[in-house]
Subunit: 357 residues, 3 copies
């Protein structure tokens, strides 16, 4: 199978190859600009995500390919009761690679199992968004020359930020990465992520002060704090400015610290910071496009990228109401072993025994 659903499908070596390809594309774009000639990419966006969609479309076109697809609520018609499996088989007649965004966790996995062309996950509910993580990795790699031995701060909403969890998991595979987790009490890393860290995969510490953490950081990954995450409005007002990066706070950082943000930002980074050479969030956008180009080439022209090995177990169920396995007809319930647990093949949630449901 050729698909990218989540980062763990790729070995560290394969990520390195994608990054090398991305850098080569940037240096020699003319070598690549007809590589996808006569090929079509389909963007199946069951919920809007303009930024991600345009990045994939630009990536495909810059490889000489064409794009078809849908981008928003039209998808309600696109589905018209049709299963993701059927849609994937239909679109396989029209395109050479499928990019899917879907509100249900695991939907692109169902697509990958049924399509006869490669499938790329462009965000499935709260599950994963691997090409954002690839953009983050490439940016760090290009700015610092390595992914090992870095001190990486994550600031803001660490509880709900899917991109934060995915990048932490990815960085855990490199040597000597230290984490500084900077957030208010309410928005600390969720327990499943903390358990993973506590198992000793990397060095980490928590703080609620951006100023305290800044001087030690090689990388600062900023995220947005959303008001609605706070039960107490006054608490939100009291805290929000502490997690805004401005030039004054940035003066505490090292001269080669690299500031990232998955965008869109609202006000968590002052626009004054944009002209500081440490601001790398617009480079992240460019790097995202380059990694998507490398990934398209890899999947269309390269070897298989298998999904994890799965098994059936009639005694288990997936408890996640947002998982595609609970809404999509005819999806075979399957499970994987991961982190020593039995988990849903589609959404990675810990499976529970049927009798406990």
């Amino acid at each position: 199978m050729k698909c990218l659903i989540d980062i763990p499908q790729l070995s560290v070596g394969e990520i390195k190859e994608l990054m090398d390809t991305a850098i080569d594309i940037d240096s020699h774009p003319e070598k690549y600009r007809e590589r996808m000639k006569y090929k079509r990419l389909a963007t199946l966006f069951y919920e809007p995500s303009t930024r991600t969609r345009l990045s994939f479309e630009a990536a495909m076109m810059q490889l000489g390919g064409s794009v078809i697809g849908f981008s928003n609520s039209e998808s309600t018609s696109a589905s018209k009761g049709e299963s993701i499996a059927d849609t994937s088989r239909v679109i396989s007649c029209y395109a050479d690679v499928i990019v899917m965004r879907h509100p249900k966790d695991g939907a692109p996995t169902v697509a990958a199992l049924n399509a006869s062309v490669p499938v790329i996950n462009a965000g499935d509910g709260g599950h994963c968004h691997p090409t954002q993580t690839l953009a983050d990795l490439l940016t760090i790699y290009r700015e610092k020359g390595r992914l090992d031995g870095l001190t990486v701060g994550f600031c803001g909403d660490l509880k709900y930020g899917r991109t934060v969890h995915s990048l932490i998991n990815a960085l855990a595979r490199y040597n000597n990465v230290k984490l500084k987790l900077i957030s208010p009490q309410e928005l600390r890393l969720p327990s499943y992520m903390r358990q993973r860290l506590e198992s000793g995969i990397m060095e980490w510490e928590e703080t609620d002060s951006l100023e305290d953490a800044l001087p030690s950081l090689d990388i600062l990954y900023m995220t947005r704090i959303q008001q609605e995450r706070f039960a107490d409005h006054d608490e939100y007002i009291r805290l929000k400015d502490s997690y805004v990066l401005n030039l004054k706070k940035l003066s505490l950082a090292k001269p080669d610290t690299c500031v990232l943000h998955p965008l869109p930002r609202v006000n968590e980074i002052d626009v004054d910071v944009d002209s500081d050479p440490r601001a790398c969030y617009f480079k992240q956008v460019e790097n995202g496009k380059l990694m998507r180009m490398a990934l398209i080439l890899r999947l269309v022209d390269g070897d298989d990228v298998p999904l994890p090995e799965s098994f059936s177990d009639p005694g288990l169920v997936c408890p996640n109401p947002r998982c595609v396995c609970s809404s999509e007809r005819s999806v075979e319930k399957k499970f994987i072993f991961s982190d020593g647990e039995k988990r849903c093949f589609y959404c990675d949630h810990k499976a529970i025994a049927l009798e406990n449901k």
Copy 2:
């Protein structure tokens, strides 16, 4: 004029040519992949139909052409009170061929009369959807090697299914085609279609049992039964499973029966059937794209495909409230002779005398 509004515009010979081209495209795609280079197709979809739109877009791109257009409710702005005639003239400045989907019967005919480029009907209200029928014909032809001498079953909703009526009319032009019409009482073929059959154009019989009909069929054309078609909910519940195809029922069929479905399916064909070699509904999708490629080539590069000869008659009116002639300003009322009746040029409804209106 170069347009395809409905299948009867094409002779049996011309359909054969389109099918031969489609098969040749499938065998030698590289011969065709720059045939529409420097040309543009416009998809004017006044109502969403993602599947049909993507099929046309893939078809044009696979011929080396580009696509512009709109795909949904945006069309309300597209129209902004502009007549179909004006829009067609405007789009003729932007594109080399127009594909139109419109909720009004006959709208693409108005477009064809005003555009200076070819127009293809991609579905106009309840009127017709000729490229679906071309996909059906090619699939039958490729699977069975012929269109003559076949026993063809239609199962499910034969009353409202536009694709069923169109394919029956198309098959009536071949020799020795026998129909088996399989439906509940409520959803039998409508009277205008029955009258046509009763005039002796082909052999036919009706049944309400899929099991009884299956052993004799060369082709089984499945359709969806929609709950809202039944006045009596209990009747729906009692009947619906009889018209679901599963492996058990399929075991009654011949080993070379070919199962078609216009898609999307909901549950009228079990997914278990998909892996049976007799399941041809995903081949239909591929064949639909190939026939659309053949049709685009035929219209852009080939001879005229004229509309039926029409006449004016101030004493006649079209009684169809969904006809474009009743909503579009400045549409000249015209009529044709067909099946021995005077009919509306745009929607094929039987015309009525003005004084009876």
Copy 3:
């Protein structure tokens, strides 16, 4: 900077060059059909405008380029609180030229200040829509062979018609152009335009009779009269037909009068007029595409097209609630001198002193 926000950025000589390029494209399309190969245009339409969008898309494709973008309410997601400045920097990673339609006056100026690729204004609120004016100018130039010495009638809604004001301003730069302003009392040219005319930039007169004006006109520019512009419904009913052009009225015109309309029309020009050789409104559509092609080439490959020189003044404010400077975060308030007044850099409204606000 390379952008086209409004016509005055272009000298008369530069407009002439664009027109010459457009005419050459029309004569020798094959010379231009790969000029934008490997390049991408982004259509950022924060409000729908199908006609304008498709014209730009066809223009880019006819130059061999590709198109990405969004076209409608999806834009609400596109923004998701992201500033126009940030979006422009993001899209600069994906495309080689940006075309923006936005409901706020001045939004494309903000984009131009932040993008690293050329930006074209495709309509910003009530502010301007320069490529429509370029289409109008080319049509007049091609039909009459000149832009000097013409008598030009504008008929209909001269109060709210942005295209009318823009074309009048553009024509004022040519020699011996005479205006006939034909409208009901309610829809006369607004005071700021009248003041400009009264300053003596060109000869002009007003009338409420289309019939009276017609015999003298070289050009008749028709516009739509919208019912909602009238306080008094009876007045609307009484007047509306006076400003409808039909063949009878057209018989009063010279044999070489040229009739323009920015489209879409509703009923302000009878369809009977379409076949009169003096009807040039569909030629305008074609000319609009050609001028957009010329403009894309000019901006992507040519020299800078600077914005007017601006200055800061903390004592001034822009009073326009629809100006982008009042809604967009982090937009630096700037002003220009124009027509002897201090005006907002973004929306051209006369600035007011802060203390008068």
